[in-house]
């Protein structure tokens, strides 16, 4: 087990005891939101960081999850427990639709198409008001229960642990993927496409697979988000949410599984803390955007890279290479 995975394990152990320390609903709420963001950010990192797909449409998968759960529970009366896994399916299907053109595109066109898909989803949700509630969204959705026990009780204890379990499952899934030959092939495709192709790796198939895989837990997170907050509004696709989560990916560090998780926790709390300051409701987004630019400028690999520089793992430094070919 690598040092980073040990750190992750330690983190989850600590998080498991958090509800014993913080018994009020608000702090637990912040943790739950942070866990959701952590799932989205770390899964986004799979396509963006590991595979180098300029994917600006990852929030689509989350939004699809949100609306799948909302429509299933509210309109179709499906049990929330069944609605959440269904979100994985719908998100994965939307990933296939997005991936089909993206698999063959390059560079800027990937940015344009993924971003446009996301924006069009917003417009679709807004225009299909009968089904989605339009700009107002869907509200008063059913919440989770086991028998007679409501998850809202005990200061959201049930939701807290369910969110934590989902994050743990998603993280384990990502570690598994990243460590598999498929996960390694992502980096091969990212850094040397021709070489990878010449070793039998289909670039298009890899891109489609990674987008679908990254959509699964993101969709589930969307479904959970809906049954937790009991609302679905188009904001979840919006510019604001998107850049917040993107900054988690960047600040946490492309290339790692741990980074985006920690960044999601830190940024959610930082953002909430700033929201507490009067008149800072808008300014906090500006602060995060500035932080994002600074990280790109000063530590392009994200903060995780700085941490790793501070604590060298005993890896040999780069051996000097001689004159080039």
């Amino acid at each position: 087990m690598t040092r980073n995975n040990l750190l992750l394990l330690a983190l989850f152990v600590v998080l498991a005891f958090v509800p014993q320390i913080f018994t009020d609903g608000y702090v637990r709420h912040l943790f739950i939101i942070a866990f959701i963001y952590a799932i989205i950010a770390s899964n986004w990192n799979l396509s963006l960081g590991h595979c180098g797909i300029f994917n600006f449409g990852h929030m689509t998968f989350f939004g699809i999850g949100v609306y799948t759960a909302a429509i299933l529970t509210k309109t179709a009366g499906v049990n929330p427990w069944l609605a959440i896994p269904a979100c994985a399916v719908t998100a994965a299907i939307s990933a296939v639709i997005m991936a089909a053109p993206v698999a063959r595109l390059k560079g800027i066109y990937v940015v344009l198409v993924t971003f446009a898909v996301n924006q069009l989803m917003v417009q679709l949700v807004l225009s299909q008001a009968d089904l989605t509630g339009g700009a107002k969204g869907l509200v008063r959705l059913p919440f989770l229960t086991i028998g007679d026990y409501s998850f809202i009780r005990d200061y959201k204890l049930g939701y807290y642990y369910l969110a934590l379990i989902l994050l743990a499952l998603s993280t384990a899934f990502l570690i598994l993927v990243a460590g598999s030959p498929f996960g390694k092939s992502l980096k091969a495709v990212r850094d040397a496409e021709d070489y990878a192709t010449a070793r039998g790796i289909s670039v298009a198939r890899t891109r489609i697979s990674v987008l679908v895989l990254s959509a699964i837990f993101t969709g589930i997170a969307g479904g959970f988000y809906t049954v937790y907050l009991r609302v679905a509004s188009p904001e979840v696709f919006g510019f604001g949410t998107m850049s917040l989560v993107l900054s988690m990916v960047l600040i946490g560090g492309i290339n790692s599984v741990l980074g985006p998780v920690i960044a999601a926790l830190a940024l959610t709390f930082a953002s909430e803390a700033m929201a507490g300051i009067g008149g800072f409701e808008d300014a906090r987004y500006i602060v995060i955007a500035v932080a994002m630019i600074l990280v790109l400028r000063l530590a392009p690999g994200g903060l995780i890279q700085i941490l790793e520089r501070l604590a060298p793992t005993g890896q040999k430094p780069a051996t000097p290479t001689r004159s080039p070919a």
Binding site: F54, F56, L120, L124, S243, D282, I288, I293
Partner: protein, 287 residues
């Protein structure tokens, strides 16, 4: 017949708007190789500056439009200097600048929210009255937009084809090293292209501010449409970008007529995916 003509006119208005937006995006892309996500936000800032000068300061709409154009241009120069230029040598310049411009969009939108507040604002039209076009009445201001867009596009085109500076921008876009080797200052050319594009966005915003409400988020929808234009038209030449803009304007207007406002975004979306599956580089794209 009337509806058909009305739809044509409405498509022409939309097309003019998209052409102005997309040509700015295209200019920055062809010169710097950067996709500028702040383009919509710059349009919004232009509209707010125009409103401030015209309404809050009472200098009148013409001064407002001028101020909005110049103000957005200046902000464009600052953006290029702060969040584009440091990344020229970056290995992943395209991705990094997409992210930094996205971050700046957030800064501009939230900043506008803080400065100008949530109340809806609107500019008075530059010219009053109505004009009858093919038997349909449109406001004189919209007619102005219809006339101004092609004039601005042609002026931009002439500038890049005939003037020494304009040619140097094209040269930089096609081959930076070769441009540097004949003495073109590449960073200055980048800043200039960004400034022109930003000013164009500001002008569009100031003009649009009399037709739609001015809000911090007003740039996002035109930006998305401009992106679709670019997907259809490719990011290569001004001509194909402008052509695609008018095409999308007409398609959108006719979709509203045929499938209704309700299904238009969906139809546009399907059309885009279809086009991409068949022609990955856009309808007019060559690369």
């Amino acid at each position: 017949m009337d509806t058909l003509l009305a739809t044509l006119v409405s498509g022409l208005v939309l097309g003019s708007l998209y052409a102005l937006m997309a040509s700015g995006l295209s200019l920055v892309w062809t010169t710097l190789g950067v996709f500028n996500f702040t383009h919509g936000a710059l349009m919004m800032v232009g509209a707010f500056i125009a409103w401030t000068v015209s309404e809050a300061a009472g200098a009148g709409p013409v001064a407002g439009v001028v101020a909005g154009t110049l103000g957005a241009g200046l902000i464009g120069i600052v953006i290029e200097r702060l969040v584009i230029r440091p990344f020229y040598a970056s290995r992943n310049m395209l991705l990094v600048t997409a992210m930094t411009t996205l971050a700046v969009t957030i800064i501009l939108e939230r900043g506008a929210q803080m400065i100008w507040g949530p109340r809806l604002k609107q500019l008075p039209p530059l010219v009053d009255g109505e004009i009858r076009l093919f038997g349909n009445a449109i406001s004189a201001h919209e007619a102005l937009l219809l006339v101004a867009a092609p004039i601005i596009l042609i002026a931009l085109w002439r500038f890049t084809v005939s003037s020494k500076i304009g040619r140097s921008l094209r040269a930089v876009g096609q081959n930076q090293d070769s441009a540097a080797l004949i003495g073109v200052d590449v960073p200055t050319a980048f800043a200039l292209a960004f400034a022109i594009s930003a000013a164009l966005a500001g002008l569009t915003g100031a003009l649009l501010g009399s037709i739609r409400f001015i809000t911090p988020a007003m740039g996002s929808e035109p930006l998305t449409k401009a992106m679709i234009v670019v997907i259809f038209g490719g990011l290569g030449s001004l001509g194909s970008t402008a052509g695609a803009a008018y095409l999308i304007g007409f398609i959108e207007a006719f979709l509203v007529l045929w499938v209704g406002l309700y299904w238009t975004p969906f139809a546009l979306f399907l059309l885009m995916i279809l086009v991409l599956l068949l022609r990955p580089n856009g309808i007019f794209g060559k690369r």
